[in-house]
């Protein structure tokens, strides 16, 4: 790790909420090294050559093509980026892992799902939890694409409630193997994988156990038909049946009853990578839409000149920019945390596991936010194309269908929303993040008389940064009071949790964009970053609105009388601009920049 990394203050997971981050401490896509840029280019070239031209075949459910392209990705080393060198991978850092996942995923959701399922949840449980023998035996094959992996957690009766699966594992009398029986559902890559990570219950254990199960039809493994899906047409998704499938005891992952933990930790990585996998789709959709909008004329005018279309283009580009800012910020935090732990003597395995776990809150935030952005982006993409957007002959239709799954798998967005707040509160209880102190301060502030001074906001983005600080107070105020009121029963107040989570999400996303724009304005000049600054401002404006609305909803749901009045007043104070940004001008400037470049250009 370089000294720069050592010296800077690496935020702990969830700490963004109570700490001010210096813009020099965030990593942005503009910080990619020359090597990372070369990787990005290589991945983009792969996408342009192997995936995009084959789009019709993917849409026609050509599952064999998905497998073939996965093999090619393996030959180029794309499947082994995150795998340590001693197991046949490239041992690259988390940022490079995210970058690969980002730029390989925009061609079709079919491939990005296959790629994500294999490299993430299909491979990581072994690299993170496997014994030395398990890693030596399986990981090199997975890292090169000689073998493909799948992850079999979900069952017909166990989806979000993942630990409730009925699949069983029974130890043989000689103690040498387990017999697995049960039914798994929605298993990505099932049709062509060589190996499953299977979760099953031993006796009446409270928690399930993970196993590495080789895909051998002669060992009681059979597959259901391919599911008929709304999107990701060429991603293989099938049921998997295990009937007296014999698995040697040495194929158990971690210990007995550790499966749920494995499942959850694999999902942390899966979630942030899924967020990355939704980024380049947004760039590509935005670029495709802008190109169309500059060519398509109505009323003798390119539709790109209409304010209504400018609004869409500006919002699409802005969300993509914000998503990038937040994803790579978190990715670098994870990378640095892993490096710190390794320096402190952790094995790579342990460092990586704990490093990602540390940022589980951010992983959930990103998964929710970016999966919803890509859906909106595709939706507006269709709208810009008008009737043509609805046609299968243009790329928007498939993009829209493919985007939809991201809100469902790797934990539904509802589950992830509630998790993000739940994990944060748990962290606070454990003393990992001090929420209580800051929350008390906010309460005191509510009781006190507000200052009527007008702060000096002449410095670039200073009002925006002050706004972020205030928005954090909204979260502390609402969540703090809710925890006080309900204690552990808060879990049952889901709509309140959802509201709190939307506040949390918007804070993280908006802050990430502001920090990126500020950092870049400092190094490349304000003028050069004019559009990026505009995007950060535009996003913040929406964040304030969302936070105000959710804050109000939350407060009204549990506070009454004076308490309610006081908190609503606080909410008003904490969401008030001294100088409102002119949203229309901001949008127009962003849209005009994107249109002039004729592509997503940030």
């Amino acid at each position: 790790m370089d000294t720069q990394t050592q010296n800077k203050d690496i935020l702990r997971g969830g700490q963004f909420l109570v700490k001010e981050t210096n813009c020099d401490d965030v990593f942005t896509p503009e910080d990619f090294s020359e090597e990372q840029l070369m990787m990005k280019e290589a991945v983009m070239e792969f996408n342009d050559r192997e995936i995009i031209p084959n789009k019709p075949r993917f849409e026609a459910k050509d599952y064999a093509l998905t497998e073939e392209v996965m093999k090619k990705a393996g030959e180029l080393g794309f499947l082994g980026v995150a795998v340590p060198e001693e197991y046949g991978g490239l041992g690259m850092g988390f940022v490079s892992t995210m970058l690969t996942c980002d730029y390989i995923s925009s061609g079709t959701g079919s491939f990005s799902t296959a790629f994500g399922a294999h490299t993430g949840i299909g491979t990581m449980p072994i690299t993170l939890y496997g014994t030395e023998e398990q890693k030596q035996k399986y990981v090199p094959r997975l890292a090169t694409g000689e073998w493909f992996g799948a992850y079999a957690l979900t069952e017909p009766g166990a989806g979000s409630d993942a630990n409730s699966g009925k699949t069983t594992a029974q130890l043989s009398e000689d103690g040498k193997s387990y017999k697995i029986n049960g039914q798994k559902m929605w298993i990505s890559n099932a049709g062509f994988c060589n190996m499953f990570i299977v979760f099953a219950r031993i006796e009446d254990d409270k928690y399930i156990t993970g196993f590495i199960v080789e895909n051998d039809p002669n060992n009681g493994i059979s597959l259901g038909e391919e599911e008929h899906k709304l999107g990701i047409h060429a991603s293989s998704t099938r049921q998997v049946f295990f009937s007296d499938t014999v698995v040697p005891v040495e194929n158990m992952l971690a210990g007995r009853g550790e499966g749920f933990k494995i499942a959850m930790n694999a999902l942390n990585i899966g979630r942030i990578k899924l967020a990355a996998a939704c980024l380049d789709s947004q760039r590509r959709i935005t670029t495709t839409a802008v190109k169309y909008a500059t060519e398509r004329k109505q009323f003798k005018t390119p539709i790109a000149n209409f304010g209504a279309i400018k609004l869409k283009i500006a919002e699409m580009a802005t969300n993509a920019y914000v998503g990038e800012s937040a994803c790579y910020r978190a990715a670098k935090n994870i990378e640095d945390r892993i490096a710190l732990r390794m320096e402190a003597g952790n094995s790579h395995q342990e460092a990586e596991l704990k490093g990602v776990e540390e940022y589980a809150i951010e992983c959930s935030i990103l998964k929710v936010s970016v999966s919803e952005d890509v859906q909106n982006c595709a939706d507006e993409g269709i709208q810009i194309f008008g009737g043509m957007g609805f046609s299968k002959d243009t790329p928007m239709e498939a993009a829209w269908r493919d985007a939809r799954i991201a809100r469902i798998y790797e934990g539904t967005n509802e589950i992830n929303r509630m998790l993000s707040v739940g994990m944060l509160i748990k962290k606070a209880m454990k003393g990992h993040v001090d929420l209580l102190g800051p929350a008390m301060k906010v309460q005191e502030e509510l009781m006190g008389i507000p200052s009527f001074d007008t702060p000096d906001y002449s410095e670039l983005l200073s009002e925006e940064k002050a706004m972020i600080a205030k928005l954090k107070k909204v979260f502390l105020m609402v969540a703090g009071a809710a925890v006080q009121k309900f204690g552990p029963d808060l879990e049952a107040h889901q709509q309140l949790l959802l509201a709190a989570s939307d506040i949390l999400i918007e804070i993280y996303m908006a802050e990430s964009a502001i920090l990126r724009a500020e950092k870049n304005a400092k190094r490349f000049g304000e003028e050069a970053q004019a559009s990026q600054i505009a995007m950060a401002k535009l996003y913040l404006y929406h964040a304030v609105t969302t936070i105000e609305q959710n804050g109000r909803e939350g407060i009204i749901s549990f506070a009454q009388g004076d308490e309610q009045r006081m908190m609503l007043m606080g909410l008003k104070r904490f969401t008030k601009y001294a100088n409102y940004p002119d949203i229309v001008t901001l949008r127009n400037s962003i849209a005009e920049k994107v249109t002039a470049e004729n592509k997503y250009c940030f």
Binding site: E34, E35, L37, M38, M39, E41, A42, E45, F46, R49, E75, L76, G77, F78, G80, V81, L90, M92
Partner: protein, 248 residues
Amino acid sequence: MKILVCISHVPDTTSKINFTEGDTKFDTNGVQFVINPNDEFGLTRAMWFKEKQGATVDVVNVGGPETEPTLRKALAIGADSAIRVNTEPTDGFVVAKQLAKVVQDGGYDLVIAGRESIDYNGGMVPGMLARLSNANFVNTCIGLEVEGTAVTAVREIDGGKETVSTSFPLVIGGQKGLVEESDLRIPNMRGIMMARKKPLTVLEPVEASAETASVKFEKPAPKGAVTLIDPDNVEELVNLLHNEAKVI
């Protein structure tokens, strides 16, 4: 067999072209640079010689430090080492002089250059380089085989092909045909990582002064609007072609 591949650092073909300083300089602002396509065909052919016939492959560029990412990409694709001659490639003569020195010092058997760079399309370097290095020269080369010391090269000529036999030392001006587009390589991740560890030597230039200087660049006139004419209205078409377009 010692091969040197000359790599020109050129704007991506989709770049927007603008000029600055009173239309005397190319505006590099926001432009993405790539390996000159003609050179990439050559590099890919060189990799074939490396893998099938045990050749060593060095790459060279004449240019400033900003061209190093392009050289490193060539290393990532598989070249063994890279050389950058640290000077502005002001004109073809300057570049050829610098390359001639590298060829002379390196004792290369085969120098693969592109037929032309797609930036300024000078097309002079390979010919001058061959002359300055006292090497044989085959231009517009679309096929190259080596057996021992015997070289067979195929050239594109107007409307056909010519096969020539020649020998080392040899300079070729290569182009598509040496390999096809589908043969071009995406650098693999391991190659990208190794590129960092491979030598990239920076050499100071030899004396050479430009024999030409750009006075002015001009872009082609923008295309005019298209006039659509009803297929039944042949008279109008003839009228416009005669009176407006003045082509008949």
